[in-house]
């Protein structure tokens, strides 16, 4: 039973993954803390207690910033030095397994458009144009503008 020593590259990759996970975890915990603190205050009857304010968010983010910079620095260093997971770009070699799992068809040939596919394409383009014109006539275009020209706070996650 041999003990496998991590190479410098492997250590780098592992440290970087831990850093990424840590930053994500801390950002998550910060948001949850702000939320639960605020929810408790609101439950006490303070209607206008704001869970998030610029100041509170800033105070929570500040301790995470060094880790964030560290992770960013390691990313830049890794890119410059060409440190990466070599396995990532290697082909998934187990062809039989791939075939069994349905990841390869017998021949990747049917991609050249047949005549019927060409007709289908033309028909679908005509249909799309018809739908767009019908939509403009029934006011659908204005609906898109109405939604796009204002910020729906619920949609983007503001509130």
């Amino acid at each position: 039973m041999g003990v496998t020593c991590l190479t410098r590259k492997e250590t780098f990759l592992i440290v970087q993954s831990l850093l990424c996970a840590l930053v994500t975890g801390l950002l998550t915990v910060s948001a949850l803390c702000l939320y639960f603190d605020g929810a408790a205050k609101q439950a006490e009857g303070d209607l206008f207690y704001y869970m998030y304010t610029r100041e509170r968010v800033g105070a929570r983010l500040l301790p995470i910033l060094p880790l964030l910079f560290c992770s960013f620095g390691m990313t830049v260093a890794g890119l410059i030095l060409g440190i990466r997971d070599d396995q990532a770009d290697k082909p998934v070699r187990d062809e039989k397994l791939l075939r069994n799992q349905g990841m390869i068809r017998e021949k990747a040939v049917h991609q050249v458009a047949t005549q019927s596919e060409l007709y289908l394409r033309v028909a679908v383009i005509a249909l799309a144009v018809f739908l767009i014109v019908a939509g403009i006539l029934n006011g659908g275009l204005e609906d898109v503008l109405a939604k796009g020209a204002t910020i729906c706070t619920e949609c983007v996650g503001l509130g």
């Binding site: 990424c20 990747a108 679908v124 249909l127 706070t153 503001l158």
Partner: protein, 604 residues
């Protein structure tokens, strides 16, 4: 276009393979196109500086890729958000327009959009560049790739349809519960700007949930190539249906393909064969295929073909492609420069030149407080009457409070108001304010005392808390007109809403309830300029008869005059002197509204 495209991987026979450093220094064509598309979609660069979104007519058009329309830079709409919105409205307006646009994008480009011109795809690929151990595709990821159809069916189609048609509610399921683009580009994009500091006040459960979801998806993308794209993205699922017969995409020459399977093995997406519903036409397999069987085509035009190996394209063809590529890049850059100039310089200049009449009034009003004082003096008797009235209303609040605030808002309160209006008692308003103030919640962190009418007249004109709100007038949707200055002596609540905004519609019944409980309050709900034509029809069966409704327009420019953000719903509360006591973009519950009303009344 092919010039740079072909630089992505040079012929190994002619040159030594590039080192990692060389690759780093020079991004490939696809990366440049991705950056270009992201910049073009977000050409409203000034939005990032002033914190406002672009709200011009181009927003009626959708871009092909995932780009939140609430991003301060976005110049057009998000196709997926528009689809959900159209489905919620399917009960009265068939969603032909958005369906037509999606079909057109799909049949023309298929998932080439995902690989080349989707900003979210670019973000995922950049995250994947972070050097960590990577999770490779397997039969598990292949199975997970079906998940996106579930997201499409449930969050994009079923939830908006069921809530929209069945319950008359606007609920864009994917936007509200999942979309990381909305959180990153929309929410974070707006919140990072100090001009939107008050937007923080509305953050709560929805934001916390979406923030966590965004972080988890981001982390997944670091370890697993395009995780969102492969497992979640409903837009990719839609475009995937068209991949097989889309005009643009990677195509395989059957005469050259020998079924070696190298293309599938090297591809990072969960494909079964090149060009299937999972293929994003990134074109990497073109260089992998030793047979030179794969090329990226648009109809009959080859955008990228095999340049090495036994079936490499002839040199003159490659040179011709490079030449066309150079011309295409030239045109593309000219379009980008024009778009940036148009959205940031030309269009704003045209808008300023056609400044609405209302804004001119504001400028005049802001020009000197002397004018305001003068107006106040000339309206002396009115003011006196108003002060009396306000005092009366204070009394009403006191009486109501002594009767118990937890009494149901109905007849008791109406009776109290009558009583107070009838007995014109000479009450000490300061005292009333103090008493009420001590038991009232604050209206906002920066809430200020505005003092007496005379003091109010000396306040700066503006829309921030403590400012005297500029006067404006508008016609009402029912009958008559509204002039803000006619309501001095009353608490005035201005609510800004839109028929496409779910929280706006959810809170309007509470405004109605407040008006019934406190008839002295003046509530004007102003529909945002976009989609205002549909406001009247929308209101017909709602039964909000006690509220005044108006619509904004380019000519009126009310929201611009009052510096109301495009974030809906927004509410401004004015004390009886017309001074702003609350101004924020946030949905309000009845309890909050009542507290704001009482605080404004006390701030007299």
């Amino acid at each position: 276009m092919d010039n740079t495209m072909n630089q992505e991987k040079k012929a190994p026979e002619k040159k030594a393979p590039e080192t990692q450093r060389e690759k780093l220094q020079r991004p490939g064509t696809r990366r440049l196109v991705q950056l270009y598309a992201a910049l073009l979609y977000n050409a409203n660069l000034k939005g990032f500086i002033d914190g406002h979104i672009y709200s011009g007519n181009l927003k009626s058009v959708c871009v092909p890729g995932f780009n939140c329309y609430s991003c301060p830079g976005a110049v057009a709409s998000c196709p997926l958000g528009s689809l959900q919105n159209a489905l919620t409205a399917a009960g009265h307006t068939a969603p032909w327009y958005v369906l037509g646009i999606l079909t057109l994008f799909g049949v023309m480009l298929g998932r080439t959009i995902c690989g080349w011109i989707c900003p979210l795809g670019l973000i995922q690929e950049l995250l994947h560049k972070i050097p960590t151990p990577k999770i490779r595709k397997s039969h598990i990821t292949r199975k997970l790739s079906y998940l996106k159809y579930v997201f499409l069916a449930v969050f994009v189609i079923a939830i908006p349809l069921i809530y929209g048609i069945g319950k008359g509610m606007i609920l864009p399921g994917f936007c509200k519960y999942i979309c990381p683009a909305g959180t990153l580009e929309g929410a974070v994009g707006l919140l990072q700007n100090p001009a939107n500091a008050t937007s923080f006040y509305q953050l709560g459960e929805v934001f916390t949930r979406k923030w966590v979801i965004m972080l988890v998806i981001g982390l997944a993308c670091v370890f697993c190539y395009r995780s969102f794209c492969r497992f979640i993205c409903p837009l990719g699922a839609i475009y995937g249906f068209f991949n097989r017969f889309a005009l643009a995409g990677v195509k395989v020459n059957p005469d050259r393909c020998n079924s070696c399977g190298l293309c599938v093995m090297n591809c990072k997406m969960d494909i079964r064969h090149v060009g299937d519903r999972e293929c994003i036409s990134c074109g990497k397999c073109i260089d992998t295929c030793a047979q030179g069987a794969i090329s990226l085509k648009c109809g009959k035009i080859t955008l990228k073909g095999p340049e090495t190996g036994k079936n490499a394209d002839p040199e003159p063809v490659i040179q011709k492609r490079k030449k066309i590529g150079r011309i295409a890049w030239g045109i593309a850059i000219a379009v980008l420069v024009f778009a940036v100039c148009w959205f940031n310089l030309i269009e704003p200049a045209i808008e300023n030149a056609n400044e609405p009449a209302a804004a001119a009034v504001a400028t005049e009003q802001a020009a000197g407080t002397e004018q305001a004082t003068g107006a106040e003096q000339s309206a002396g008797t009115d003011q006196a009457a108003n002060t009396d009235q306000a005092t009366g209303t204070d009394q009403a609040t006191d009486a109501e409070q002594s009767a118990g605030t937890d009494q149901a808002a109905g007849e008791n309160q109406a009776a109290n108001t009558d009583q107070a209006t009838g007995e014109n008692q000479a009450a000490n308003t300061d005292q009333a304010a103090d008493e009420t103030g001590s038991s009232e919640p604050k209206t906002g962190p920066e809430a200020k005392e505005s003092g007496t009418p005379a003091a109010a007249a000396n306040l700066p004109v503006g829309s921030e808390i403590g400012n005297l709100l500029p006067d404006f007038s508008t016609d009402l949707l029912g009958e008559g007109d509204f002039k803000l200055s006619d309501h001095r002596g009353q608490v005035v609540i201005l609510n800004f809403w839109g028929t496409t905004c779910a929280p706006c519609i959810a809170e309007l019944p509470d405004f109605e309830k407040l008006k019934v409980a406190y008839p002295d309050v003046e509530i004007l709900a102003i529909h945002a300029r976009a989609g205002a034509k549909k406001a009247k029809a929308f209101l017909e069966d709602k039964g909000w008869d006690h509220l005044d409704f108006a619509t904004d327009s380019k000519e009126k420019g009310i929201m611009k005059l009052l510096n109301v953000s495009e974030a809906l719903p927004s509410t401004i509360v004015l004390n009886p002197q017309g001074v702003v006591t609350y101004h924020a973009q946030a949905p309000l519950s009845y309890e909050k509204l009542e507290a704001l009303f009482k605080a404004a009344l006390a701030d007299n």
